[in-house]
Amino acid sequence: MAETLIRTENLSISFGAHKAVNGVSISLEKGLFTTILGPNGAGKTTLFNLISGLLKPTEGKIFFKGTDVTGLSPVERVKMGMGRSFQLTNVFSRLTTYENVRLAMQAHEEVGYKIFTDHRRFKSLNEKTEEILEEVLLKDKKDFLAGELSHGEQRKLELGMVLALEPEVLLLDEPTAGMSIEEVPTMIDILRRTKKKGTTIILIEHKMDMVKTLSDQLIIIVNGAKLVEGDPEEVSRNPEVLKAYLGGGVLNEPTT
């Protein structure tokens, strides 16, 4: 078995009486593409928020690369090599596309607290930023303000920013949410290339057809608890999973 990168133990969080995530224990291996699937409101994003440190669990533990990170801040987890994107587009909208990616690159390269050097003078940073922009197909939009980009482009920018961090593990929260159907394949292409580079990717989705071919492992979450996990083909034929998805229609229905 490969090395375990992220492991959760009995992870739970309650908001008042509502248990959004309930005793989830998962282990995610290095180099694998894992998809977390579940209907709307199943607690997928909450699980991500727990793993990335945005929320503190009421119970349970999170291990990253073997260390207990439950008490660490998001910043410390990012520095350990965890990168995440957001479901709702979360970019610096009054800065240019280029600057958005450059800032992510600057964080990764640990430029430090320099206060009188011009930011444009870091050559390797600028080159790498260009590379990322090319990778996510936004090179011709680099001087646009991020807020002026279309929704699909903002999703790509969001992904570009996380890629710039060169994380060991990439937590992607529905990267294609709200994208038009023509744009989805380019997104999948980018994901496929990233996977090839050896980055561990954990993806949240609620439509299965999109990720079936990409994923090495599927985890189904329903009502805050893990239902099943395993091989994509197997899981998608599991009767319990089909039931959770209201008779299974949603799972195999083509994306519209």
């Binding site: 990012v78 520095k79 957001f86 009188f116 011009d118």
Partner: protein, 333 residues
């Protein structure tokens, strides 16, 4: 020079002309005008220091005057107790820099512990008031509410000479603060303004960056305070009050927040209008209440020109550029 490369020829020429005009002005003006313009220069720096916080970091500091007033008081206390020469002036500058960065550090540690922008603003308001109260009660040093008049070094005594010092001060501080905004740290501050949570998820310790921003702004404000003290040869508790903080807010508001240079335009406008209204006293007694008109003006600015002068100008230039581009494309096709 690196700095010149970044500017295009037109801007360079315009700045050159402006500089020449500004250096000639004092030789053709009344003393009161020279003082007014010196005041504009100094308060422009104060406004820019505030813009670093409000415009670039998105942090509302209602106690910002405490740095400004402290600068003026430190200069006054030093000149009164240790003699009015340039060595003491140098000491006052060093002490102000140390004091302001320390005060900003303490303020930051208290304010930046999380919590919203409003909560932070309220705490800074309280901290500012504490400092103002200390200055008011510590009569043996500060002369309390009467204010502290003091003698200044001879070099600063000539109004025309001091005008040039103020101009040089403005130029140096503009270059320094611009460089700070262009630095990696300055860029992170802008990211924090846009979306602090996202900045954290890129791996930035946002509170550390905000602390640095606060210290830079505090030091710049303190230095402006020294110059303001020397200009008036007087420091009083008004310089530490919320009113003084609001002056900075209004200067950046009128000039344009998040533009840095906006503070220079804002300072010129605010001070010129204030001066003009005050002079109208002799025309009609209602102008004794000049604040009345001043207030109305701010309401109008906020309603019809929320981006301020420089913001409006940038918008206009951008539109013109887009129009030019579209025209060029149409021609090309």
């Amino acid at each position: 020079m690196k700095l010149l490369n970044n500017m295009d020829k037109k801007t360079f020429l315009a700045l050159g002309v402006l500089l020449v005009v500004l250096s000639i002005i004092p030789h053709f003006s009344k003393l009161s005008t020279i003082t007014l313009i010196s005041r504009i220069f100094i308060l422009a720096v104060y406004g820019m220091s505030y813009d670093i916080l409000r415009g670039y970091t998105g942090f509302i500091n209602l106690g910002h005057a405490l740095f400004f007033g402290s600068g003026a008081y430190i200069a006054g206390i030093f000149f009164t107790n240790f003699g009015n020469n340039l060595v003491v002036f140098g000491m006052a500058v060093i002490v102000t820099v140390v004091f302001c960065s320390l005060a900003a550090y303490i303020m930051g540690k208290i304010v930046l512990r999380g919590g919203g922008v409003i909560a932070a603003a309220m705490i800074t308001l309280a901290l500012g008031e504490i400092v103002r109260n200390i200055a008011e009660r510590w009569r043996s040093v500060t002369m309390g509410a009467d204010g502290l008049p003091f003698k200044i070094p001879d070099v600063f005594r000539d109004r025309i000479g001091f005008y040039y010092y103020a101009l040089i001060f403005l130029i140096i501080m503009t270059v320094v603060l611009r460089q700070f905004i262009l630095s990696p740290t300055g860029r992170v501050l802008m990211a924090i303004r846009e979306n602090e949570q996202r900045a954290e998820f890129l791996g930035y310790e946002t509170s550390k960056y905000k602390l640095i921003g606060l210290q830079v702004a505090g030091i710049a404000s303190g230095l402006a305070g020294i110059m303001f003290g020397i200009l008036n040869r007087f420091a009083n508790t008004d310089l530490l009050s919320v009113q003084q903080t609001l002056n900075a807010l209004l200067i950046t508001l009128v000039g344009g927040t998040g533009t840095l240079y906006g503070a220079i335009v804002g300072s010129a406008f605010v001070n010129a209008v204030q001066n003009y209204l005050l002079n109208l006293r002799s025309v009609h007694p209602i102008f004794e209440r000049w604040l009345l008109f001043f207030g109305a003006m701010y309401v109008i600015v906020v309603l019809f020109m929320p981006e301020g002068f420089v913001g409006l100008w940038n918008k206009y230039m951008k539109e013109r550029r887009t129009k030019k581009n579209t025209k060029a494309i149409e021609k090309g096709l």
